[in-house]
Symmetry: C2
């Protein structure tokens, strides 16, 4: 599992981690049944604290995306979705946004607005 954390970002570290796991669960890079790295292992790999990883894992559990079992770690339970129709749309949208020098915060702000109705 590949995850990148930016300590300088405004978003909390546990949220960055949860975000990236969500994306990888959604597109099948993490298939159902996959055992995720243990919190301790992942914390060490990312250079962040154990409790921060647990925070992210618990958020994902609360969303029904993973199951947490004592002794056996975290397991993916969210089925991958068919993102093929989305991939093209996303790539096109992001390319257009970049072409207009639109910042990521501005782009996501516009998307959140559209999503909220």
């Amino acid at each position: 599992m590949i995850v990148v954390i930016d300590p300088a970002a405004t978003a909390p570290v546990f949220e960055q981690l949860a975000d990236q796991v969500r994306a990888q669960l959604a597109d099948g890079r993490i298939p159902v049944g996959t055992r995720l790295p243990s919190a301790r292992e992942l914390a060490e790999q990312l250079g962040i604290n154990l409790h921060t990883v647990l925070h992210a894992y618990q958020a994902l559990r609360d969303e029904g995306l993973i199951a947490l079992r004592r002794g056996s770690g975290a397991v993916a339970i969210a089925p991958a979705r068919d993102l093929a129709p989305l991939r093209a749309s996303i790539a096109e949208l992001v390319a257009t946004a970049k072409g207009h020098d639109l910042s990521l915060p501005t782009l996501t702000a516009l998307i959140r607005e559209e999503f909220g109705r």
Copy 2:
């Protein structure tokens, strides 16, 4: 200026506010030269603290989107962009995402990935 704050959201309040102003600056709902509400006025209207509004305003100033002067308040200095090519893409993307029961966090996670941060 219409802004909605969700105190229960994971995103910081000042970020929610900045996001919504960014969107309204981008699409011209807030034209260049417009004087934004004073921090005190907006804080009272939104039921949040003066300094939280100022935090958002200062972030927008650092991005070159608004000018802040004491006595005269905040003024929009970022020209509206041509979002016509984006609008259709955004609407289509969001509609597709909803059709696949994709959550907003997951969708934005995928977009952030594509954008490359």
